[in-house]
Structures are given as structure tokens and as C-alpha cells.
């Protein structure tokens, strides 16, 4: 009986240690895809920009944010974030070009890989025309 208890305890211990080690040995990675807009695209005045993309993680991710910045005026014209923990995300947002002057724009997708500040980023630049 004692031998059985020792074996069960030993097995559980090995399993626990194994799981714990695996958790820390494999850093989470994420594949970021920006389907729209594409680099060099031009969005005419009054037209809607389609911001479309996905994030697929190798494990649980810790949220992401999407930021659209007018590089000419250095102003953020759209931003949004999702703090839910998931292994994948997809977004489908719209922004209407009302900038008033032709501007260089940058869309940035930032994914939180953990809560220690590790992130991965993908950006694309395009033009908001008048």
C-alpha cells in the first residue's frame, strides 16, 4: 500500500515539475497579419479605410492594441485595445479619411505576449489623400 502511495506521489510530482518547466521554457510567439491596408495604399478624402487583420499565438496572448497615427501632424486618429486573454484575435474596423490635407499615415498593431512588457509589433504606412 505504501509503495503504491509513493509511486502515485512520485508520478504526480514528475508531472507537475514537467508542466511547470514547459510553461517557462517555451516563450509565446505571435504571428501578426495585416490584411488591410497594404503598404503604399491611398485612401481618398471621405472614403473609409478598412483595418483588417489577425493575430495567432503559439499560446495564450495577453491582448492587443491597434493605433492609427497621422505622421504628418503626429496625432492619433484611431485607437482601440482588447485586454482579453486568447490564443488568437481578429479585427475588422473602419476609419473615414477626414484629415483635410494629404497625410502620411501609420497603422500599428501591438500584441502583448505577457504581463512583463514583452510585445510584438507590426506596422504599415499608407497615404490619406485629399
Amino acid at each position: 500500500m505504501k509503495a503504491t502511495i509513493y509511486i502515485i506521489t512520485f508520478t504526480l510530482g514528475i508531472l507537475f515539475v514537467g508542466t511547470s518547466c514547459e510553461k517557462h521554457s517555451e516563450p509565446i510567439t505571435a504571428t501578426l497579419t495585416l490584411l488591410e491596408p497594404q503598404a503604399g495604399d491611398t485612401v481618398m478624402a471621405g472614403e473609409a479605410l478598412h483595418m483588417h487583420g489577425t493575430v495567432v499565438g503559439s499560446g495564450e496572448l495577453h491582448g492587443y492594441s491597434l493605433t492609427l497615427t497621422n505622421l504628418t501632424t503626429n496625432q492619433v486618429v484611431f485607437s482601440g485595445s482588447n485586454a482579453t486573454h486568447q490564443t488568437s484575435y481578429a479585427f475588422d474596423e473602419h476609419w473615414v479619411n477626414m484629415e483635410g490635407a494629404t497625410s502620411n499615415m501609420k497603422l500599428s498593431l501591438i500584441v502583448n505576449l505577457d504581463h512583463e512588457g514583452n510585445t510584438t509589433t507590426k506596422s504599415v504606412e499608407f497615404v490619406a489623400a485629399q
Partner: protein
């Protein structure tokens, strides 16, 4: 309660209206008893439809469409029925990074139904019933601006729809009948030139009815197949997501009739679907109906 014998076992589970919400998914059916022309009815219906939208297999938004409707049916003649309804819709799209909320009056609808065949037995219970209906949906509800990216969330499609409904019911036993219904809806284009594809649907329902307590219980499990044609813009096929596809669904209706009040619950669960290149999936649909039956004055 003597009219219950007259009532037959004809249950109108799906109506002519293949709604265009979310590109045509949803039968937007009004449930009601297509009684053997014994009653006028007036009532209310509440329904909730749910959808999920995908990008590369990942959910990016959830849609919830709630509707409240006033429904009425008038029977000017033993073989003619006119039904109409006016919906009010509340639509919400919840995305990762935001949400949209659109509400307003939907498109009013009217259906004229002609009873082609109505065989009864010696107890005046329906044996065979065949009807043909023609319907119109008028684009008078709140519609999306031409530039809208959430067109499917608006209560109105902005276009006229014309529908044909063929319904056949055959009594199998004293308490069971089989109902089949085919619907074809032709859709016009809206002011901006956008046109949803035409819709076809076929439904088969087994209707079981039994006297229960102070009324009569009617239960109708069944299956439905809906097919949606591709959308066009200015007569040209829409590239990419064009709202084409099909939905194969199971459904069950539970109705209870007592003292001229008809209570109804309808639940529809998709079994298989491929819609808009898999970018959208319909979830469960639930509707509740309460109608008051007004007995016609007999002029025999």
C-alpha cells in the same frame, strides 16, 4: 372552444419573409396558425437572432438582432387571407475594438394568401390544405446610408422584396399532420444599386396536436433549408463577400391555444451552414408570439 375542431392542424411555421439582416441569413418568420379561415388575428412577436463573423476562422464580431413586431391577419373570405406585420428592430454588433448599435422601424410586409385546396372530414377537421401566397416587403424602414460599412445591421434593406409562398399540409392521423412549405423571394435593388440575391427556402414540419387542460397544444418539430443568392452592385457581382450561401436548420414550434389566445415559441438551430464564404455563421434563433384570435361572424 368548439372552434378548435375547425381549426385543423395547419401550422404556419415559416412566413414569406427571408429577411436580409446579415445578408439574408434568417427566415425572419412569423409564426402563426393558418387556421381554416375561421379567425382574424392580431398579435405581437418578439425574436432574437444571433450571428458570429469570422476572419480566417477567428471570430471578430458578434451580432445580435432583436425584433418586436405587430402582426395581424384578416380573412375577408373563406379562401382569402391577408396578413401584415410591422417590425421594430434593435441591432448590435460587438467587435474586439468597439461596437455599433442601430435601431429603428423595419420594413412593413403584407402577404395575400389564397387557399387552393381545403379538404375536411365529417368532423370539419382539415385533411388536406394547399395555399399560395404572394407578398411584398416595402423599403420604408430605417435604412443604411450608401457609405455604411454595417449595412446588415440596419432594420431596412432599402429595397422591395416580392415573395411567393406555397404551403401544403396533409393530415396523417387524428393528431399528426405533415406540413411542407416552399418560399421564393425576389429582391429588388436599393437606391445605391446594391441588391441582395434572391432567396429560396423549403421547410418540412411534423405537427402534433392534442387537447391539453383548457386548451390545445400544438408542437411542430421540423427541418428547413434556406439558400441565398449572391449580392450584386449595379447589376455586377459583388467581389469578395457576396452573401451567398445556405443554412440547413432544425426548428421546433410549441403553441398553446386557449380562450382565443394563442401562445407560441419557436426555436431554430442551424445544423449546417456555409454563408458568405464562411465569414458569417448564424446562431440560435428564438421567437415568442402572442396572438388574439377574433372569431369571424358567420354568414352561412
Amino acid at each position: 372552444m368548439k372552434f378548435m375542431n375547425m381549426f385543423g392542424i395547419v401550422l404556419w411555421t415559416f412566413s414569406a419573409w427571408s429577411c436580409d439582416v446579415c445578408g439574408g441569413v434568417s427566415g425572419n418568420a412569423s409564426i402563426g396558425l393558418l387556421a381554416s379561415t375561421q379567425f382574424h388575428t392580431i398579435g405581437i412577436k418578439s425574436s432574437l437572432n444571433t450571428y458570429r463573423s469570422y476572419l480566417n476562422g477567428i471570430v471578430h464580431s458578434r451580432e445580435y438582432i432583436a425584433q418586436g413586431e405587430v402582426i395581424a391577419r384578416w380573412q375577408p373570405h373563406a379562401r382569402w387571407q391577408i396578413s401584415a406585420n410591422i417590425p421594430y428592430q434593435v441591432g448590435r454588433q460587438k467587435r474586439d475594438l468597439g461596437s455599433d448599435f442601430i435601431q429603428g422601424l423595419g420594413d412593413p410586409r403584407i402577404l395575400v394568401n389564397h387557399v387552393l385546396v381545403h379538404h375536411k372530414d365529417s368532423n370539419q377537421a382539415t385533411r388536406n390544405f394547399l395555399s399560395l401566397g404572394l407578398g411584398i416587403k416595402a423599403p420604408w424602414g430605417r435604412r443604411a446610408p450608401a457609405s455604411s460599412m454595417i449595412r446588415n445591421l440596419y432594420p431596412s434593406t432599402g429595397a422591395w422584396n416580392f415573395s411567393t409562398v406555397l404551403l401544403f399540409t396533409k393530415r396523417l392521423t387524428e393528431h399528426v399532420s405533415l406540413q411542407q412549405e416552399g418560399i421564393y423571394t425576389y429582391k429588388m435593388r436599393d437606391a445605391s444599386g446594391y441588391r441582395y440575391g434572391n432567396t429560396y427556402s423549403y421547410a418540412v414540419t411534423v405537427v402534433w396536436n392534442k387537447s391539453l387542460g383548457i386548451g390545445r397544444l400544438l408542437v411542430g418539430p421540423g427541418l428547413q433549408l434556406e439558400r441565398f443568392g449572391a449580392s450584386t452592385e449595379d447589376g455586377l457581382p459583388v467581389s469578395g463577400y457576396n452573401n451567398q450561401g445556405f443554412v440547413f436548420e432544425s426548428q421546433v414550434s410549441v403553441n398553446y391555444l386557449s380562450y382565443n389566445w394563442l401562445w407560441g415559441l419557436n426555436v431554430i438551430q442551424p445544423l449546417q451552414q456555409n454563408f458568405n464564404q464562411g465569414s458569417m455563421k448564424q446562431g440560435i434563433r428564438v421567437s415568442c408570439t402572442l396572438s388574439y384570435l377574433i372569431t369571424k361572424n358567420s354568414k352561412k
